[in-house]
């Protein structure tokens, strides 16, 4: 198999949202939205996905940039990860997102990769990415969840035929910040909570987000709720550059008199979605921000985790990250 040159496709470069939506409608399943392309090109080069038409949305000015609004900020879907990492506004108010963006891939990928592409990217399960016809690709087996399958990077929670995990570093930060995703299609515009934007295999095994063909992620809105709160982000990966998170964690916390007044926390790399740790939040709310609360939080976090053959290490890893997030936010 030729694995380097991409298969032929029609390339469109619309400059207005309407024009892009028309093209997306026209091509339906056979169309592919291209933002920075840093996830897409692997699929094309490996010939695991062969869209007939690629709709490069980068020329649409309305999808770029970070704006301050009455209620917080709005980040255009095409804003690059470098722009997010270096934005004074984001660093000042929502540092956890700047931190998460800084941990993605490599500087060159962050210069081109967009926040929209980062949250919409597909899972990294190598069986699937290799182009095998597993459940997620529309087949009827999972190659990872077998006695011989290498499932070291796979999930602890929410397995349902597919055991793949959410790869994104920014997604947990957006869930922790209670962000909303603004989605447009031919019928108009709607807002979806970040937490509901990501879906597991129980909802649809062939998608990672609610986006259907014809849907465009327009922007991400972050409300003022957590602006300037205490934050924590940590990513554990094999290497500091290029590697995806084995586990990552994002937390936003408000502390009053050394007691945790309010908290939101989400964990990546352990489920098909960035997993909001609601039980942890409930356990520590009102408790002092100290080691004892952190210990309680850690055991609450991993409750219900179901390790696979090779990923048991993710349980203590997740617990450690939760502890540190509680202690060091």
């Amino acid at each position: 198999m030729l694995r380097d040159m991409m298969a032929n496709f029609e390339l469109y470069q619309p400059t207005a949202i309407d024009h892009a939506l028309n093209l997306m409608n026209r091509y339906g399943d056979g169309g592919w939205v291209l933002a920075g392309g840093q996830d897409s090109f692997d699929w094309f080069k490996d010939r695991a996905k062969k869209p007939g038409a690629v709709i490069d949305i980068n020329g649409i000015d309305d999808l770029h940039g970070i704006r301050e609004t009455a209620d917080g900020i709005e980040i255009g879907a095409l804003t690059t990860l470098t722009e997010i990492e270096t934005s004074a506004l984001i660093k000042e108010k929502y540092g956890v997102l700047a931190d998460a963006a800084r941990h993605v891939a490599s500087p060159q990928i962050r210069n081109v990769g967009t926040i929209g592409g980062n949250v919409c990217q597909d899972t990294r399960c190598w069986y699937y990415r290799y182009g095998l016809d597993c459940y997620r690709a529309g087949g009827n087996t999972c190659y990872a969840d077998t006695p011989e399958g290498i499932d070291r990077e796979h999930c602890l929670f929410g397995a349902d035929r597919c055991i793949a995990v959410s790869p994104s570093d920014t997604a947990p930060a957006l869930v922790a910040l209670d962000a909303r995703m603004v989605v447009v299609n031919g019928d108009g515009e709607k807002e979806v909570q970040a937490e509901d934007f990501f879906i597991g295999p129980d909802v649809d095994i062939m998608r990672m987000t609610i986006l259907q063909p014809g849907d465009l992620l327009k922007s991400i809105v972050i409300p003022n709720t957590w602006a300037g709160a205490r934050f924590y982000f940590e990513k554990v990966a094999e290497r500091n550059t290029w590697d995806f998170a084995l586990v990552n964690i994002a937390a936003a916390m408000k502390v009053d008199n050394n007691a945790i007044a309010d908290i939101r926390m989400a964990c990546g790399g352990v489920a098909c979605v960035p997993l909001r740790l609601t039980v942890v939040e409930e356990v520590v709310k009102g408790s002092p921000q100290n080691g004892a609360s952190a210990d309680l939080a850690a055991s609450a976090a991993s409750r219900g985790a179901t390790p696979l053959n090779y990923n048991g290490f993710k349980i203590p890893l997740m617990e450690s990250l939760v502890k540190r997030a509680i202690r060091e936010s």
């Binding site: 030729l2 380097d4 040159m5 991409m6 298969a7 032929n8 496709f9 029609e10 390339l11 469109y12 470069q13 619309p14 093209l23 291209l34 392309g37 840093q38 090109f41 692997d42 094309f44 080069k45 038409a53 690629v54 490069d56 980068n58 891939a105 490599s106 500087p107 060159q108 990928i109 210069n111 081109v112 500091n240 550059t241 290029w242």
Partner: protein
């Protein structure tokens, strides 16, 4: 795709090159320079161009690219990456292809001063923008760029394969941050892999280039 794939060129390959005392590299550069680059394309993209009739609104194939300050007309496939165009159509083989997957940085070039992986950029994306490759760094008098000089003085490269990418990453960094800390330089250079592990030498080179410019 032009099917006028010159058999003479293919058949003359190594034997003819040897007789003429040419290296393979000169040979490839030669055919590119003489406008026979379509032949080279036949070799690289052989058979996968398919039906190229374009639907309305799709990109035009014949485009102008600004590379190293020169505007050049090139015939570019919709799915062609910048690395392919630079190396196999414009003869700019200083830009290396290591992984072709965004995982090594050997293909790093500057587009409007921003470092990116040319293996992971569609050529059609850089229309109307300014592309700089390692070939474009030298001064008008042919002098090496200060970053290149510093790389030589500090014995930065070992085998040299990753060097163009390292140089371009360093130039991108110093453009926006002329006096980086060693840690800042380390982060900025982290997207370019060195199989020889010459990272420290490269960092010394970047720090020297920064110091000499100040």
């Amino acid at each position: 795709m032009n099917t006028n794939f010159s058999r003479e060129v293919v058949l003359s390959d190594d034997e003819a090159m040897g007789r003429a005392g040419m290296s393979r590299r000169d040979f490839i550069k030669g055919i590119i320079a003489t406008g026979a680059s379509i032949s080279a394309m036949g070799y690289v993209f052989g058979g996968c161009a398919g039906d190229m009739s374009s639907a309305p609104g799709a990109v035009e194939r014949l485009i102008s690219l600004n590379v190293n300050g020169r505007v050049r007309r090139v015939d570019v496939l919709p799915q062609e990456t910048l690395a392919m165009t630079l190396r196999y159509k414009l003869g700019l083989t200083g830009t290396k292809l290591g992984c072709d997957r965004g995982e090594c940085g050997a293909c790093t070039v500057l587009v409007d001063d921003v470092a990116m992986y040319s293996c992971s950029t569609l050529t059609h994306r850089v229309r109307g923008r300014s592309v700089v490759t390692v070939e474009g760094l030298e001064g008008e008098d042919g002098d090496l760029h200060p970053v290149q000089r510093a790389f030589i003085e500090e014995l930065g490269p070992q085998c040299g394969f990753c060097t163009p990418g390292q140089v371009m990453s360093a130039v991108a960094l110093l453009n926006i941050n002329p006096s980086p800390t060693r840690e800042e330089a380390r982060v900025a250079m982290s997207g370019t892999l060195c199989r020889c592990g010459a990272y420290d030498n490269y960092l010394n080179s970047v720090m020297r280039a920064a110091k000499e410019a100040s």
